[in-house]
């Protein structure tokens, strides 16, 4: 052990080290940047403008990459050790202005400096996503980010169908489909993940097949279950973002509480007849569902399950607002619906926006939360048909 410690101490004495700020200034002045990490580390992101030469290939490749031996060269690795050895090697090769970044890429990222994802899209992917690669807000780095993202769709029904199809088409790499129902012919008027041929099969099976047929890049994870307090934490754990397209209050509150406790963003949507709501709940950045609606509408006052009726195209509009917000959140682009409730009235053709604020008295995200673990809410869909006076 002391042998290595002595060696690195001696090497660091022979080279020049710079901190992130000095490296940034050198790069701004035109310094060459050499990333000496391994390929898998490089693939997870690197300093913009860097060339990748893993340390084992440095002697062979550096002269092609950096021809001017008097040029300023910033070498970096993950933490600053490999790049120290690399700097000494470069000095031995005759490079006179080599510096090693102290703390490496880790410190660079920590300091909030820009990073890029390497272009490792296949030729097929470049064609498939070409129209969104051309959008500067996405580009190759954004597309890589989407391909690495994991989104859970709670509900593979009216909202989950359009959201799932478009997120899959956009290349979100992992899509969890959660639903415990089987496809019924009455679903097909709006649940476009499913087809006549899938009537009677689980929605997860049917939806997964549709998504795989649309885009083989997507890893579809089937969760053929009903969320409850016993499984929700495990189910949501692997996901970056949750799209709430469920059709009952029990699941809405359960998903909300679990997401607040694990600091995950929920893309909320809900529909009723010809009216929809959407917003984004990001813990720490805005309110949660309980801040907005501390209590569910009692079932006798809320015939809000699908038996209550819904215009078939409405979930298309609301589900796509959710898909759009999901992509923005994953890409870190634009102004999300955090703190804003968007409502859409299809009959009136009107969109309205309301301010949503975090409630300091909220039971789960307030200043003195009383909900510290998930619990099940007793709420069942109980629909009493009532006359509908409007012309639908």
């Amino acid at each position: 052990m002391s042998g290595f410690k002595e060696l690195i101490k001696r090497v660091k004495g022979e080279i020049r080290e710079v901190n992130v700020e000095q490296a940034r200034a050198a790069i701004a002045n035109g310094a060459a940047i050499v990333d000496v990490r391994e390929a898998d580390e490089w693939a997870d992101g690197h300093v913009p403008g860097a060339v990748h030469i893993s340390r084992g290939l440095l002697e062979q490749r550096i002269e092609d990459a950096v021809k001017d031996k008097a040029a300023v060269v910033v070498a970096y690795c993950a933490g600053g050790t490999r790049s120290a050895f690399a700097a000494r090697t470069l000095a031995e090769l005759g490079y006179t202005n080599v510096v090693s970044l102290v703390g490496g890429f880790g410190k660079w990222k920590e300091a909030g400096q820009p990073i890029v994802m390497p272009a490792t899209l296949s030729a097929e992917q470049k064609r498939r996503y070409s129209r969104q690669l051309l959008v500067p807000e996405v580009g190759e780095a954004g597309q890589q980010r989407l391909l690495k993202s994991k989104v859970l769709l709670v509900g593979a029904g009216g909202l989950g169908s359009p959201a799932g199809l478009y997120l899959a088409a956009a290349g979100v790499g992992t899509l969890g489909l959660l639903d415990s129902d089987v496809v019924d012919v009455s679903n097909l008027q709006r649940q476009i993940l499913h087809t006549n041929a899938s009537v009677g099969t689980p929605k997860t099976t049917s939806g997964a097949a549709t998504i795989r047929a649309l885009n083989p890049d997507v890893n579809v994870v089937e969760h053929n279950l009903r969320l409850d307090s016993g499984n929700v934490m495990d189910v949501i754990a692997p996901y970056d973002v949750i799209v709430d397209g469920c059709d009952n209050f029990s699941t809405k509150y359960l998903v909300n509480d679990a997401a607040v406790l694990t600091k995950k963003t929920v893309i909320y949507g809900s529909i009723y007849r010809f009216e929809g709501q959407a917003t984004v709940f990001t813990p720490g950045a805005g309110p949660c569902y309980r801040c907005v609606f501390p209590e569910p509408t009692p079932s006798e006052l809320a015939p809000s399950c699908d038996e209550a009726g819904v215009l078939g195209v409405l979930p298309g509009t609301v589900g796509l607002i959710q898909a759009t917000e999901t992509l923005k959140v994953l890409l870190g682009r634009g102004r999300s619906l955090v703190g804003r409730l968007l409502t859409y009235d299809a009959l009136e053709s009107s969109y309205r926006e309301y301010k949503l604020r975090r409630d300091p008295k909220c039971a789960v995200c307030g200043d003195a939360p009383t909900i510290r673990e998930v619990t099940d809410l007793e709420w069942s869909c109980h629909f009493e048909p009532k006359p509908v006076p409007v012309g639908l």
């Binding site: 009216g158 609606f293 009959l347 309301y354």
Partner: protein, 91 residues
Amino acid sequence: MAIEVQLPSQLRPFVGGAAKVSVEATSVGGLIEALATQHAGLRDRLLEPSGELRRFVRIFVNEEDIRFLQDEKTALKAGDTVAIVPAIAGG
């Protein structure tokens, strides 16, 4: 003065199907009371038996939640728009 009230789908049957109604009121509390008096059935939807606003119904005045204004005491002036937005759970 007349205040415009935007109604959600669930409440439209109680006002003959209209998406909005006009109500004479100078405060949110007065407006809810006037609505509940004029349209049979709305009282039960908006107010607890105790007379408090139901917790699954949000009232916004010009896009701001009355809980972050002065609740039912929030004053209304000509040109204000009040919106009633209930929790819905269809998917």
